[in-house]
Symmetry: C2
Subunit: 441 residues, 2 copies
Amino acid sequence: MDDHGNSPSLDIAIIGAGVVGVHVALGLLHRNIPFTIYEQSSRLKEMGVGIGVPSIIIESMTALHPDTAENLLKVSNVLNNVNVVNGSSDEDLKLRPADRLYDVVIEPFEFRGAHRGRLLDGLLPIIPPGRVRLGKHLESIVDRGDGEKLVLQFSDGSTAEADAVIACDGIKSRVRQILLGKDNPASLPHYTHTSIYRGLVPLDKISNILGNLANCAVQYIGQGASMVTYPIVAKDGVYVNVAAYVHDEEDWPDSDYMTSVGKRQDVEAAFAHFGPSVKELVKTLPEELNRWALFDSHDHPLSSYAFGRVVLAGDAAHASTPHHGAGAGMGIEDALVLATVLKKAADSLVSAQGSASKHKSLEAAFRAYDSARRERSQWLVTSSRHIGVSAQWRDPEIGGDLDLYAKDFTERLHKLMNYDWKDALMRATDEFERQSELKGE
Amino acid sequence: MDDHGNSPSLDIAIIGAGVVGVHVALGLLHRNIPFTIYEQSSRLKEMGVGIGVPSIIIESMTALHPDTAENLLKVSNVLNNVNVVNGSSDEDLKLRPADRLYDVVIEPFEFRGAHRGRLLDGLLPIIPPGRVRLGKHLESIVDRGDGEKLVLQFSDGSTAEADAVIACDGIKSRVRQILLGKDNPASLPHYTHTSIYRGLVPLDKISNILGNLANCAVQYIGQGASMVTYPIVAKDGVYVNVAAYVHDEEDWPDSDYMTSVGKRQDVEAAFAHFGPSVKELVKTLPEELNRWALFDSHDHPLSSYAFGRVVLAGDAAHASTPHHGAGAGMGIEDALVLATVLKKAADSLVSAQGSASKHKSLEAAFRAYDSARRERSQWLVTSSRHIGVSAQWRDPEIGGDLDLYAKDFTERLHKLMNYDWKDALMRATDEFERQSELKGE
C-alpha cells in the first residue's frame, strides 16, 4: 500500500478493441498488468479492411506478446511489390514486353497484408474472459485528483474506474476530443484533399487494355492523379481491383462520414492528363463507385500524446494516409513501448514498497512513451502524405521524374525500416527513470 | 473421311494427370479437340509440393483456357522476394539494422506460388467425366504404320487407341524411356550433384540467431553451399522453413528414389566455410532431415521433343532444377503451343476435306511445337543449373561477388520474362504450315 492507500498494482483502461487496442492489451497481459478494454460497438464485428505492415515488425511483436507475432504470420500474406508505370505516357501499355513492364522499381522491402477482422479473430480468444466490455461509448473522463482513480463515464450511464487510460479509439478518437475540446482543430482528423475511388473490373476487360500489367500489382503515376491495380479473386470470378487516387480542392462535408458514392466521370476528369491506356481503363469502371476520403492528423499534429494519466496511441494519436502501408505497424510499435514503460512503472511501485505515487509514475511512463514515439509516428504521417503528393506529380522537386520518385520513395522506406526497436525501448525506459526522478516526491 | 477411312477428327492421348497434362487437356477442351488422359496412379492424389510461376504467365493461360488463368489466381499467392545475404561473412547477422538486411536485391519480378494439389483440384472438375482414366501405367506404344491409330498398352492388360500421344508424365517419364530405350542416357534424368536438406525450426529459435532476417524470405549464398529460409505457419505454431542446398561429388544410388533421410552433420560440413550466424542456424536443424536429390535433363538434352505422332511436354521433355522458380511455367507454355498447333492440324484436316493425311498433319504439328519450344525450355534447364552453381560461389566468373551474382540472376530473369507468347504461337503455326507443305502428299 502506498501513502494514498492504493494497492501498487495498476488497473489500466484501454479504449477501443481495434488492432492497436488489442495489441496493447496483449502486451499488458504478457507483463501481468491488469487491464480492461472498453469498446463502443455492441459486438466485435469484422471490418472489411486490409492492413499492411513491414515484415520486420514481427521481431518486435515477439517481445510484445509472442502470440501476436505468430498470429500475424498466420493470417497475413506477403504483399505484391507495387512497381511503377508512367501512366501519362502515350504508349499502348498492353504492348509492353513482359520483361519491361515497369518503368521504375521500388526497393522491395517485404510487407505483409492481413484482413483486420481475421487478425483480431486470432487475438481476441487470448484475452481472458471479462476483460473486454462491449457497448461502452465513452462520454467523459473525470480526474478526481492525485491518488484517486480516473472515472470513465459511458453513454449507457455506467461508469468505471482506472488508474490510467490508453486511448486506441482510432482516427475519430473520442478521447482526443475529450482531452482537447471540440473547438481545438487537433481534436478531429482533417481531409487531405485526396479520395480513393474503388471499383472492381473483370480481369479479361483489363487484360484487353493492359496486357500483362493486368495480372500484376502496378502503381500508375502521372499528372494530378495516381492509381493502384492488382488482381483479386471473388466468389464469381477474378477481378482487377482499381484504386484511383484523386486530388481535389474541395472540403469534405462531414468527417463523420468518410465514404460516399463517387462517379466515374469524376475519375475520368482526374485522369485527363494520362495516356490512352489508363484512360481506357478508367472507362471500364462502373458508373458509380465507392469513394473513400483520406483524412489524417497532418495539419494539426499533437504537441504531446501524453495527457497526465491519459495517453493516445495508434490512429488516435497519429492518423495517417495509407501511402506508406505502415499505419497499423506504427500502432503496434506504440503498443510495445506502452507495455514496456507501464511494466517499468509497475515494477517501480513494487520496489518502492508503497512510497512512490502511482499517479506520478503513470504520468512519467506516458511522457516517456510520448518522447519515444511522437517524432517517428508524426514523421510517418508527413512522409505518407508526401508520397501521395509525389505520386501525382504535385511535388515541385520531384515533378514527373520517375527515377527521382523511386529514389525518394525508397529512401523513405529505408527510414521506415531503420527503426531499432530495442534501442527505442531503452530510450523509453531511460526517459521513464529520468521523468520519475524529476517528479519523484 | 480421308483416303484411309478415318474421320478427320483427332483423338489425342495425354499421358499423366499432373499440372502439365491437365493444362494440355484444358487447352484441347477449349478447342473442341477430343482427348483422354491416362494416369498411372489409381487416384488423383494431392502431392504436397509447391510450384512457382511468373505472374506474367497468366495472360497466356487465358488463351489456353480462361479457367486456367482464373484458377491460378484463385489458388496462388504472391511469393516473397528472395533477397540475398552473404552467408560467409563473419558478421553477427542478428545485429543487422532492419533497413540493411540484405546485401543485394534481385529485381523483383512478380512470381506466384501454389500448392500442386490445390491447383489441380480447381481444374479437374472442368474436365468432362470419362476423359480421365486412372490406374493406367503405360507399358508400350505400338505404331501400326501410316493411317492406323497408335495402340497404348497398359500394365493392367488393357489397351487404348489414339491418333497421337502427348507425354506429360514428368521427370521420370515412361514415354521417354519407351521412345529412347533404356540404354540411352537421355531416357533418364540425372543427378545434378546437389541435394536439398529440408527442415523446420521454431521461429523463436531462428530469431535468436538471425534477428529480423528470420521473418523474411532470404537466400544465404556462400562458399560451396547456399540456403533459403522463410517463415511458414503450421498447425502447432510458426516455423522457419530451412532449405539447405548442398553440393556433393557422389552419385545418387537410384533415380527411382529421389528422396532420402539426410543427416545434420552433413549439412554442417557443407556450410563449414560460412560465417558464425549461418553455422549456428544449421545447428538448430533436427538431426535427421528430409533430403531431396535434384535431378534434371541438363547432361543429356533431347535433340527433339517430337517423335512422329508422340511428343514430350513439361518435365518429360525438359526436367529442371528449381532455382529459376519456373519449371511449371515452362510446362504450361508447352501446353499452349501444343493446343495451338493441334488446333491448326484439326482445322487443316477439315479444310482439306479428307485429302490430308492425319498422320502427317500430326507429325507436322509436333515438329512445329518442338521448334517453338525446345530452345527456350532447354535454356531454362541450363540457366537454372547455372544459378544453383553461382549461388554456391562455384561459378569461376562470378565467384563470391554478390553484385555480379545479382546482375547475372537479374539478366536471366529478364530473359525468362521476355517471352512473347503471341509471337511464339505465330512462329509455331508458321512452322506447322511449312512442315505440312514439306510433308504434304
